[in-house]
Structure formats: structure tokens, C-alpha cells
Symmetry: C3
Amino acid sequence: MTITLGELAVRFGCELRGDPAAVVDSVASLSQAGDRAVTFLANPKYVAQLKDSRAGAVITDARSAASSPVPVLIAANPHATFARVAGLLYPEPPLNPGAHPTAIVASDAHIHPSAEIGAYAVVGAGARIGARCLIGPHSVVQRDVSCGEDTRLVARVFVGHGVTIGSRCIIQPGAVLGGDGFGFANEKGTWVKVPQVGSVTVGDDVEIGANTTIDRGAIEDTVIEEGVKLDNLIMIGHNCRIGAHSALAGSVGIAGSTTLGKRCIIGGQVGITGHVTLCDDVAVLGTSFISHSISKPGVYSSALPAEEAGTWRRIVARIKRIDGTVRRLRAVEKHVGFSAQDQDSSED
Amino acid sequence: MTITLGELAVRFGCELRGDPAAVVDSVASLSQAGDRAVTFLANPKYVAQLKDSRAGAVITDARSAASSPVPVLIAANPHATFARVAGLLYPEPPLNPGAHPTAIVASDAHIHPSAEIGAYAVVGAGARIGARCLIGPHSVVQRDVSCGEDTRLVARVFVGHGVTIGSRCIIQPGAVLGGDGFGFANEKGTWVKVPQVGSVTVGDDVEIGANTTIDRGAIEDTVIEEGVKLDNLIMIGHNCRIGAHSALAGSVGIAGSTTLGKRCIIGGQVGITGHVTLCDDVAVLGTSFISHSISKPGVYSSALPAEEAGTWRRIVARIKRIDGTVRRLRAVEKHVGFSAQDQDSSED
Amino acid sequence: MTITLGELAVRFGCELRGDPAAVVDSVASLSQAGDRAVTFLANPKYVAQLKDSRAGAVITDARSAASSPVPVLIAANPHATFARVAGLLYPEPPLNPGAHPTAIVASDAHIHPSAEIGAYAVVGAGARIGARCLIGPHSVVQRDVSCGEDTRLVARVFVGHGVTIGSRCIIQPGAVLGGDGFGFANEKGTWVKVPQVGSVTVGDDVEIGANTTIDRGAIEDTVIEEGVKLDNLIMIGHNCRIGAHSALAGSVGIAGSTTLGKRCIIGGQVGITGHVTLCDDVAVLGTSFISHSISKPGVYSSALPAEEAGTWRRIVARIKRIDGTVRRLRAVEKHVGFSAQDQDSSED
């Protein structure tokens, strides 16, 4: 679709510096944008790149706007405004309300007439699918699942019995909501399955990435609060609670019964052990491991950046002998009759 | 369903302290259980929580039983007994024997009449599906697959040609058994695919989690022995053997041709390199990395718990310079003419 | 199928030492191969194992050939030649050209008559599927997808709208190409979705493992160059570029906008942060973390091999106090009036 800069300015509350009749039809990166494309500059650090822009319009803040050789839409939050402009220029394909002839929908499922049930989708007994939902092709929605409004299961999503999903959620292909939690009792060296009788509750405005898995609770529900964004290949164990507006990057794994506070930001491949609680506003850098509860907002890490392998091998050898090294230091301190009144000294 | 405490006591061999005619119909957590719910207390450490219970019955051991204000079912292994009680109260939905009209079953597949083949399932030539199996909706079972009895592919499971699955297995949605192993020969910087002509053999009583992948062997089979429990998003490389009754938590990755002994317990996100052997009864803590064979039962770890990021950054900087630090210590030792007869000293 | 050693020698350009009329019909490992099986020995280190072989033929190099008691096919690259022989002996099942009656193919999709569209596959408008492609059962191929020739989507593959796939690719079950990238703008603590308007471009001869996910680009495409081999459960973030002939082992995670050079080899569970560039010919050992760009070919690592857990706990405690330890060393150096002119000294 095409739109004028004037319309964009009005619709998104921006100040426009440029021709309101100029037309744009796409988005592009700052360096690639041509004269029909909208781009954005959110980080003033890159303002120097602006001077070569040939974009149809740049969304940026008031400070950076002065450097632009092309039309500018001034926004308080250029990235968020860009996201909305892109959403306008690239609308989702319209739904085809109703069930595809190949969809299998239980006779007592409640499907809103404006919802689309895609090819080969299977919807179980008692399911409730709200207005303008998309149950994409090849999705399996078991009995007693509930979906709010405007929620989209893109394709090939599995939603287990009794799972509740809010409104305006997006669930990417391959995601599994409500598989059994990993619960077994050990009996003389073998495992007895503990039936997982809880379910999963997903709030409004949640996005769940491709092939991510969220297990049903052992007894009570696993809960994903509103506004949470989960990337691909994430594992959420049974009985976890992920606080509102938290964002978890790809391949994160969270063991059972762990609670994350609101607005947590968890980097890729982070592992979080079971039965711990993170308070609101915790950020964890990618690949770190959280083994204890965290009660103070802040940034946490145990990420180890790689070195050239030979250098790293030497470091590992030193690390493995660090206990002996500290004992040697202690012995030298004693020998010379001097020890720094360091907090460590008393511990050796 | 409902059942009396007396029936539970008889069926599961418990001593009952309480009214045998009292009725229960559900399970719940210790703190949430009402008077129709069964709960359990396995860890005597939490016995203090028992005094506030309003449960219909608590399954616990003889020692903790005395502290209970409500009826008690005394069991040698309260968690295992609870698992069985829950299994009784929450039975799997009954099968619909036969093939769904939309299932595509090869004419020469052998499907036991008591098995259910779900909507849109595809079962290939020569497959053998035993009594009371469930091939859930959207599962793809290729040619010459064999399933024992009472095995359930929940939904959307892929089982590649020639894979053998035992009895009483549960395979969660999205699991892939028998995709090609990752085998390539390097030839002048490019890769030539090595056909993966082995298959996968899965023993009895195995559970496989959502979106977990088990690759077929390069030549001989990848083997998952009886009683193994695999959580979600686990990667088992070609030609691995996972010993009986081992349990692997989510997101574990095991490279090719590695063997785990019996009763191993592997924490979440653990990585195990290829071509190594772990003996029986090895436990590995979550996020650790196993680079060598282990011949002694025990608990192993290389997990690094996170710190506040600024503190951690300083630690990493020190670690990266640890070689120089040890050299400085050695120099001081020489300077003062003293060196602890530490095992490390000779190595510097 | 069966073939004579003479035919193998001619077809693959090997020198044959043995009876050209001898017949083989399978491949096997060196220790298991019987007299109808071909095996190989690529690493001269294992040449001692050759003397017990009962194989029909061993593919090996000229130097090892002398030790063989059985017929030998001499090849410059025994592993690559073995791969090709195995490919000949275990051909892929022939395609059934045309669309399965249950496949749903858009009327304006362009399907080459020699391609097979499997059971329950869904192919969207404008898709182009080339000669001898397999769109396996339960695959979802959205609108405007393009596949070259001889590409096989084994089963249950999702390919999002506009994705381009080259020729001779193999895509294992459960893979997701072209799910949305993880792009959100933060606005006062909540997230605004940034539409992901780029796509995914996959070159020729690429293999993609089971349940691996490759996100579509935010604006421009995510690119997998020719000859890349991706194992299972890998996460490739939006706008990454994976250089030609690189091989990534299972469970690797690469955050957005990162570029890998050609012929990189990335071990299992490696994490690579976003917005970095690795030059050609970088190898990273399994479980390592790459936080910065790498401009020098070589091998990199931050893998920490596990120890017995008690020992490891003590090491971690020492690591956490390493800053204090170095300060103590500094204090001793000052006290004794001696400091090695180590590079570290000036930094404390």
C-alpha cells in the first residue's frame, strides 16, 4: 500500500519536516532506503549515517532530525513509531472467516464466525476460539482450549487440552503449549510418571517463537503473563511463571517452578534453575546461568567470552588449579609475615 | 472420578490413618488442597507445612504422618504413590480404536484393532502398530516403523523409516525420531553427505519430550534404552546410546557416538561431546559441559552461577589474565626464597 | 542393490586391490562389516583395526591399504568416497511425481511435473517448486515460496511466505524457515512488535536439521549461503548471514544480524551474540560463547570441562574471589619490594 507522509504524521502524532504529499510504500534500512521507503534512526550514536540517506522519510528524534537531508518524521520513540508504520504498510493478510473444508472442528467447539480455521487444523471438543482468531494450517488445538480475540496460531501449533490463551497473541510455527511437564518419581532406580494435571495460561499480547515449548503444570498452571515475548526454541518447564512484559531470547531454558518478575530481559541460551524467583526488572546476559533467586533488579552475567583455543586451554588449566594457587599465596604471606587485610584472607 | 480413601489404601498398599469412607476426586499441592483433594509430602524438611493442610488426604511416610491434622496414607515412597494415585484420578481419555477417516494408512501396515490412528496421521508401508497404541493427529510414521503396545504418540510426532519403539512409551508433540544424523565428509572445503543408513531403537517405558530430536545412526542404530526419560528440546546425535532409566532435562545436547550408562541424571542445557562414555549412575548439574569419558559414578559440574554483571566483568578480566597472575606468584616465591610444596609449584 | 567392486572402482575412480567380480550390497562399520559390506578407514591412526576386518571391501588410502587382509578400494579421500558409495547403495526412495490427492496446492502455484507433493502438504499461491523436489507430508509452504531442483522437505517442514530455497537442499522434519524474527520496540516497559518484512534466502546444497529455526529478516533477508550444513535445534536469528560451506552442530544459537564467514565450523550449543562478524575459516569449540567479532581464522573456545562437583564448587568459590586474590598478591609484592615485570602488574 501507499501513504503520504502527511497521513503518517497525523496518524502517528509526529512532527513532519518535509512535503506532506510525498508518498511512501515500504520500509528499508537506513543505508538501503530509496525515495519510496521509510526508515528510522533511534540511536543518536549513528547520526552520522543520516547524511547519506536517500530515504523517502526518516523517523527519528528531534535532536537527530537536524542532520537529515531527507524528510523527517519526529517521534519521541522512533523505533516504536517505525514499528507502527511498518505494521500499517505491511498488513497481515486478511482472514478467510470460517473453517477450511479440511479442518476438523468438534461439533461443540465454539468458533467465532469471524475466526479462520485453516487447512487440516484440528479443533477439539469444547474449545472456544474468539473473534478474528487464526488457527493456522496443521494446528492441533485439543479439547477445552480457549483463545481470546485476534490471536494468531501461524501454522502447525500444538495447544494441549485446557490451555488458555489471551487476545492478540501470536504463536509461531512448531510451538508446543501444554505438553506434559517433566515429572517423575524415582522408585528404586526407575521412574514413575507423575500425571501432569495442571495446564498453561497465556495472557494477552504474548508472542511465542517457533518450536518453543511450554509445559503444562504438574498440579497448578504454568503461567505466561501479558505482554511476554518468547523467542524460538525456548523451554519453559512446568509451573513456571513468566512476569508481564518480560522478553526471553532464543534457546533459553527455564526449569520447573521458577518465577520471573515483570519486565525481565533474558539473553539467548540463558539457563535458569528450578524453584527460584527473579524479581522485576532483572536482565541476564546471554549464555549465563542463574542458580539462585535474585531479589535486586539489575544486570547479571556468568558469560565467558571465547579466546583463541590454545590460550583458553592454558586458562582452563590455571582455573582447575586455582585452589592450589591461592594456598601458595597464603603460604608466601605467612612466610614473609605479611597479609593484606583482605576480605579473602580469613577464608583460606 | 471419585474414590474412597479405603480403596486407595488397599489398591496402593498404604496404611490409612483416617476415615476409609471419605471420598476424594482430585490432586492438589499441599498448600492448595481442599477436602476432596489428595496431596503428598515426600521431603520431611517441609513437614512444618503439614500442620496447616486442609487436604482430603496426605500421602507421606510414617515419620511425617504424626504431624498431619488430616487423613494420612502412609507410603514407603510418597512421591511414587502420589504419582499412581494421580494416574488413577486422571485417566488418559479412552482410545477410539481404529483409524480416523482422514488417516492415511498403507494397505500393508499392520495396525492392531485396538490401536487408534488419529486425524490426518500418515502411516507408511510395513509399519507395525501394537495393541492400544495411539498414533496422534498429524503424526507421520514412515515405512517399516514398529511400535510395541500401549505407546502413545500424542500429536504431530515424526517417526522415520525403520525406527523401532517399545511398549508404554509416551512421545510428546513435535518430537522427531529418526531424522538424518549429521554426517558429512569434508572434501576440499565442501561437504559430501554421508547417507545415514542406521535407524533408532527406543526401549519400553521411554518418554520423549516436545520437539526433542533423536537422529538415526550413521550405520548402526541410535539406541534409547528402556525407562529413559527425555525432556523437551533435547538433541541426541547419531549413534548415541542412552542407558536404561536415565533422565535428561530440557535442552540437553549430546553429540554423536556418545554412550551414557544406566540411571544417569543430566541437568538442563548440559552439553556432552561426541565419542565419550559415561558410566552408570553419573549425575551432571545443569549447564555443565562434559568433554571426556567418566568412569566413576558421582556428580559432575562446570556450571558457573551468575553475578551482578559489573562484578562478573571484573572476574572475567582476572580469569583472562590468570596465567600472568600465577607467574607473578612464582616470581615472588623465588624472590623470597620460599615456595609451598604445593602440587602446583612444579608445574610453573 | 548389489554392485561389483569393479563397478565401484570405475565409478568412483579408485584403484581396486581385490576381485573385481566380488559383489557388495551394504555398508557397515569397520568392526561389523561382513563379506557383502563396504566399510572405510579414513584415519591412519586406526590402521591396526584393519587386520581383523572381514569386510567385502575397505575404502582407504594408499598407505593404509597394505595392512588390509580384504579387498581395498584406494581413494584420496576415503570418507568422501565412502559417502558416495553409501549414496549409491542406499538410494532415496523414488519420487511419486504429482500431488497426493490430499495435498492442497494453490491454483497458481507452479509445480514442476516431476516434483512430489506429499500427503496433507499445503502449498500457497505463487509458490514455485522445481524439478524433482519433494514437499514431504504435512509440510506447509506459504505463498511465493521458491524451491530450486532436487530439494527435499522430508516432512512437516514449515516454509514461510516469500522464502527462497536453492537446489539439492535437504530439510529435515520440524524445521521452520521464515518464522518472524524477534523484533520489538520497547515503549515505556511494554513491547511493540516490529513487523518482520524481510524473508529467508537459502542457497544450493544446504541441509537443515530437525526442528531448527531460521527467522525471516526484519527488513532485508536472513541468508544461508550455499553448501551450509545446519544440525538440529539450531536457532538462526533474523538478518544473520551464514557463509558458504559452514557447518553448525546441534543446538547452536546465533542472535540477530550476525555474519559468519565461509567454511566456519561451529560446535554444539555454541552461542554467538548479535551484530558480530566472524571471518572465514573460524572454528568454535562446543558450548563456547562468542561475544565479539573475530577477524583472524583459527580455533576459539570458552568451553569449561566439568569436574567432580565438590571440586568444582571449590573452584567456583575461588573464581568468585579472584579479584581479592590478585589484590593480595599485589600487596605481598609491595611488601617484599619485588614485582615481576609482568604485563599484569601495571593493571592492578
